[in-house]
Amino acid sequence: MSDPEDRAQARLEPIFAPRSVAVVGTTRIPGTVPFDIFQNILKDNFQGTIYPVSPKERSIAGVKAYKYVLDIPDPVDLAVIVFPSSVVNLAMEQCGKKGIKGAIIISAGFREVGPAGVRREEEIKRIAASYGISFIGPNCLGVINTDPSVHLNASFARRMPKEGNIGFMSQSGALCTAVLDYAHAKNIGFSKFISFGNKADVSDIDLMMYLKDDPATKVILVYLEELTDGTRFVRAARRIIRETGKPVLVLKSGRTREGASAAASHTGSLAASDEVVDAALHQAGVIRCQTVEELFNNAIALAYQPLPKGRRVAIVTNAGGPGVLTTDAAIQEKLELARFSESTRETFRKSLPVTANIMNPVDVIGDARADRYRVALGSALDDDNVDGALVILTPQSMTDIDLIAEEVCNVANRSPKPTYTSFMGETDVASGIDILQRRNIPHYILPESMCRAFARANDFLRERDRPEIPPVHFQDVHPAVAQKILSAAAAAGRAYLTQSDAMAVLGAYGLPVLPGRLASSPEDAAVAATQIGFPVAMKVESDDIVHKFDIKGVLLDIVSPEQAKEAYRTIVANAHAAQPRANIRGVFVQQMAGRGEEVILGLKRDEAFGPVLMFGLGGIFVEIFRDVSFRLAPVPADMVRDMMHEVRSYGMLTGARGRTPRDTGALEVCLQRLSQLAVECPQISELDINPLIVRNEGEGCSVADARIHV
């Protein structure tokens, strides 16, 4: 089965590893993009042959220039097109005729400028397709490949980064230049650096799949401005992580869609696009970062050092204060301070001064030189109780920083366990930090970032190695029943299902609904209540009323037929008073749920990601604290549990502080069933089960109220 994504390698080979490049549309004027790109390829030591193509010039920077691509006598692998957008189609045509299979279109003036640009872009897509050309762009900064056998800087970034094992891709050109400068200052290298612009042909997902199979790339960094095809993205990321173990890190600014406020349900309004993105990425195993700094703090840990197999850290420091700070930060990040074995402590006792602290953190004291660091770090890493080391250094008058840095690198590189460092201060430690960076030992200005990176690296390991558990598939369901109801609603042009219908759909998937029916008069209500059995709850039935409780349209604990009749009248009166124009079809009479904890379950169909499940504790927890969790459906079985535990107020259900434990097992099953429903009923756009009453352990749960929007 050949996924188009699997052909990424072959398609993109001419772009990333060309043996010859034609720069099409280059000029002679320094400071112009066409010239600068040509210059960059030339001066940054491209290992292949370069052919400038210029209608007017006979040579550019001393290299013979050709008037047309077709005039080039030799085969050409890659065309970098820098002509104005109005003539890129002519250039593409020639490239096609020439047999060039890869292109990078730098020029702007396409989709991003409006309808005329869209037409231009469609045309070049057509031409490219007809000749089998794969192209990146248009409107991009270009591509960099640091592999020494290629060494291509086909971009107008001012500087070529050093070689490394981090692959970076971004839609925004502006960010790319800033990232290159940041990385340069920190001695961070890249394998591939890609600005991909309008994605008219090669998409971000194609590029990710390329990096997946690129042996030079160990960690993949993506800057996302928008996620249009979220499901594909998530699937690609998951494949990468599962098949190759390469971490995928995403930098995405949090932006909430304005439309979220006009949502039709609780879930709709809570599932603002950014929270869903967060959940989706998390579920895929992607590490999401909020800033460039955070992105690289994590990247260097993942790229340079082995992943920590556990969370037990050994802290080696030469000053008490920073050691304490680091300890605090470690605890904050849910790391553990390792307990050294007796033999490790014995080694410390023998080799470190009497005043040194040999418990964790190991304080080698302010006058420590390289030898003490060597012993402390080496023994700590050798200790079976230690998963990784955090090395702190503060400059004191006797500290030979460079030597210590070298020694730390030596010891760290001999160990299969990770070592991270934080040399504190600025000027004095600069040369030491330089050594660490050059020798690929992760360094952090702050102990907090160091601990956070360690925690994330371990999180990633656990995520990567977590067995894939499929979602539970229930056989005892009646999809046809649900489909019939949904089709009927669609045919009748309804936006909402009635309560009866909603309960029926949920019931079809085995969710524990309470018996109930619609009553159309007070007398009918009394009959219904008697049939169902007291006590009952009665709720106004109207498409126009969303917040039944707020308008006093719900009455509970009705224990007699008389009360039922009275309740009917009251409810209808209240509803009319609150919303005179609402169309009230009656009152829904339902068995009381019994006492228990109220939780909210929700479903929303997201444009980018498809069905999204939501869970939270009801009432103020969701209304005020917005304490909810999200997952994309279908939700794997173990993730359902995660979803529940993630909610901060989850303790309310498990028996915290003397409360009775509730039936979380039954709750879990409800979520799983809802997940299946979400997948099998694509007609449902939003769904709220609010509340689901979770009774005591062993007593199950019940759907007290539901709203389904189609």
Binding site: T27, S54, P55, K56, V87, L90
Partner: protein, 80 residues
């Protein structure tokens, strides 16, 4: 004015502004792609046409002209 005359005079202007031999200027020549005109030269070409034909061109639309033949057609709308 006959189209052939317009064509001839257009070619003259192009040759003079872009400093290329008339021989290399064909009707289907694209100003940017074949003749290497940049934004500065485009302004000069427009000025050259305006002077040669003693007309005042709508610059917005003039900027959309891509080929020599296109220029001939565009100028024709002013002189005929």
């Amino acid at each position: 004015m006959e189209r052939s005359e317009i064509q001839h005079r257009v070619q003259k202007v192009v040759s003079s502004v872009l400093k290329i031999d008339s021989k290399e200027i064909a009707p289907q020549s694209n100003f940017v792609f074949d003749l290497g005109a940049d934004s500065m030269k485009s302004v000069e070409l427009i000025a050259g046409f305006e002077e040669e034909f003693n007309i005042e061109m709508d610059e917005d639309r003039a900027r959309e002209v891509q080929t020599v033949a296109g220029a001939v057609d565009f100028i024709a709308t002013y002189v005929q």
